[in-house]
């Protein structure tokens, strides 16, 4: 052991210093974000831009590690997302949320898809950009609602069930684009999609039916053993899912879904610190691959797309909250709360890294998330003061 260590000690030292510096910068950024009251994701992306390709400082040795840690971050993000929902909530969400979910999907996928085609990309990249603009950030939306103390509001259930539908829709969308990205012939692509969807359905069924048994099995475990078991299981299922082209992220999501009751609560508190660490490295490692110059070039595209898809999210919120009998002001609050895009958009864009227009897609997605993740929470905060309000209030009073 010792000779091996000695031989690599210089690389190890560099790797440690690089990693330590990056993580420390993230710590400062997380604090700044908390102070200013914006989500940390856009700041993490900026940090990645600055140290990555075309940035000020380059991280060499630890880049591979950060990339792998980032991939684990995606799994943990999706795992904790699945962990939040019980299967009852999913069933409920599916029953009541499908019509607004469909409006949301069409209204927000279309602008991204169209923009992709206008940029001269082919259908695969355009489909990815459609996904980027479609899905709101569950993490940012939940944080905004909590921070603004709107969880008790009448429009909130409609927002939350829309997020459930979007998350479930990802279980279908991710395997499909995964197959498209693989660039096989039409017949092979169709076969891959079918295999993937069958696998998703099978795991989903298993998660809903066998979830209680799995939770009972894990219940007596100590915290240490529970953490290891859950972490191992998530990685294992994610790996197997990737093996059958389902997308590892969805595998992790479904594992989270399967856990319930006391085990779910304990796991949430155990895995959260781990998720925060790995997820932060994911956003950094994604931004590593984005050239800061490219990003400036496409900033106008992202800004334009941000404005258009903020409007389309207002439509989603308006429709979803309206179905619950919420009045105009609440419907606008619902729409503004949904504007922020975040983790899912970056996960989707990261699928296209290897494509011909992948770098440009990455730059647009990063810029787009920067714009909407900052704009969304601000818009939500001032939703009650938007100019439309005076006139709506007058109408409501009349």
């Amino acid at each position: 052991m010792i000779p091996v260590l000695a031989a690599t000690s210089e690389t190890t030292a560099t790797a440690f210093t690089e990693l330590g510096a990056v993580v420390l910068v993230l710590a400062v950024l997380a604090r700044v974000a908390g102070r200013v009251g914006i989500p940390a994701i856009p700041l993490y992306l900026l940090a990645g831009l600055l140290v990555g390709d075309g940035g000020f400082a380059a991280v060499d040795v630890s880049e591979g590690f950060i990339e792998l840690a980032g991939q684990i971050g995606v799994l943990l993000l999706l795992f904790t997302l699945g962990l939040e929902y019980t299967s009852d909530e999913l069933r409920n969400g599916l029953r009541t949320g499908l019509p607004p979910g469909a409006v949301d999907a069409v209204a927000n996928f279309a602008p991204g898809f169209a923009a992709g085609l206008l940029l001269g990309w082919d259908v695969t990249e355009a489909t990815l950009l459609g996904g980027v603009t479609w899905v709101s950030s569950s993490g940012i939306v939940a944080k905004v609602l909590t921070d603004l103390r709107r969880l008790g509001n009448r429009e909130t259930p409609s927002i939350l069930s829309l997020l459930v539908i979007e998350d479930l829709a990802m279980a279908v969308y991710l395997p499909v684009v995964g197959a498209l990205v693989a660039r096989q012939g039409a017949a092979d692509t169709a076969l891959t999609v079918v295999v993937a969807l069958v696998a998703v359905a099978a795991i989903l069924l298993l998660a809903m039916r066998g979830g209680d048994r799995l939770s009972a099995l894990l219940a007596p475990a100590s915290n240490e053993s529970l953490l290891l078991a859950v972490f191992g299981l998530t990685l294992l299922v994610a790996g197997l899912a990737e093996e059958v082209q389902v997308s590892s992220a969805i595998g992790a999501f479904l594992v989270g879904l399967a856990l319930s009751g006391a085990v779910q609560e304990r796991t949430t508190s155990l895995i959260e610190p781990l998720r925060d660490l790995f997820a932060a490295t994911f956003f950094v490692s994604f931004a590593f691959a984005v050239d800061a110059g490219d990003l400036l070039d496409v900033l106008w595209v992202a800004a334009l797309l941000g404005v258009v898809t903020s409007a389309t999210k207002l439509v989603s919120g308006w429709v979803a909250a309206g179905r619950l009998g919420v009045a105009e002001r609440g419907r606008i609050r619902a729409g503004t709360a949904l504007i922020a895009r975040g983790e899912f958009s970056i996960v989707i864009a990261s699928l296209g890294v290897g494509l011909a227009d992948g770098p440009e897609l990455g730059a647009v997605a990063a810029a787009y998330v920067l714009v909407t993740a900052v704009l969304g929470p601000v818009a939500a905060r001032f939703a009650d003061r938007l100019p439309v309000h005076a006139h709506l209030r007058a109408r409501a009073r009349a």
């Binding site: 909530e89 999913l90 969880l151 008790g152 509001n153 009448r154 259930p157 009045a327 609050r333």
Partner: protein, 160 residues
């Protein structure tokens, strides 16, 4: 009691709300982790929570005591002091309980568990000192006295 509506909040918890006699719309939000939020809705914009009080699990217990559970707790405390080593417990019978439709006597509850059912609360009424011929119904709340171990056995017998 006022009509209470229940709304599920996926990923967050459950919200209950009702209108007070004065016409104020009041809600209580149960988070999955045991946290509670008390919400008062805005008069101009009934969809908006105009004031919110956040309570952790402990605060929730304190508030519920202040709202009237105090007398019961005091009575229990006094009783526990009198009979050292014995505990008093409320056990609700779910509809699936095997004891529904059975008498206290057939269940041989006291000889099996060592704990006694000293009263049964059924809806608004209560039956003090039920005899062995007393028949349980779903939703009955049995008030039982015994050692902690005995009560645990009784809980299993009544709830499964």
């Amino acid at each position: 009691m006022a009509e209470v509506t229940e709304t599920k909040l996926p990923g967050v918890g459950i919200r209950y709300e009702f209108t007070t006699h004065d016409g104020v719309r009041l809600g209580v939000l149960h988070h999955h982790g045991g946290r509670r939020e008390i919400v008062v809705y805005d008069e101009d914009d009934p969809d908006r929570a105009s004031s919110v009080v956040e309570l952790d699990a402990d605060d929730g217990r304190t508030l519920s005591e202040l709202l009237g559970a105090t007398q019961v707790t005091e009575a229990v405390r006094a009783m526990q002091q009198r009979i050292e080593g014995l505990t008093l417990e409320w056990i609700e019978l779910p509809a699936r309980s095997s004891m529904v439709g059975q008498t206290i006597g057939t269940g041989e509850l006291r000889s099996r568990t060592g704990a006694s059912v000293v009263a049964v609360i059924r809806g608004e009424t209560s039956v003090p000192a039920p005899g062995p011929e007393f028949v349980f119904e779903a939703g009955d709340v049995a008030v039982a006295v015994g050692t902690p171990e005995g009560l645990e056995l009784l809980r299993v017998a009544l709830r499964s």
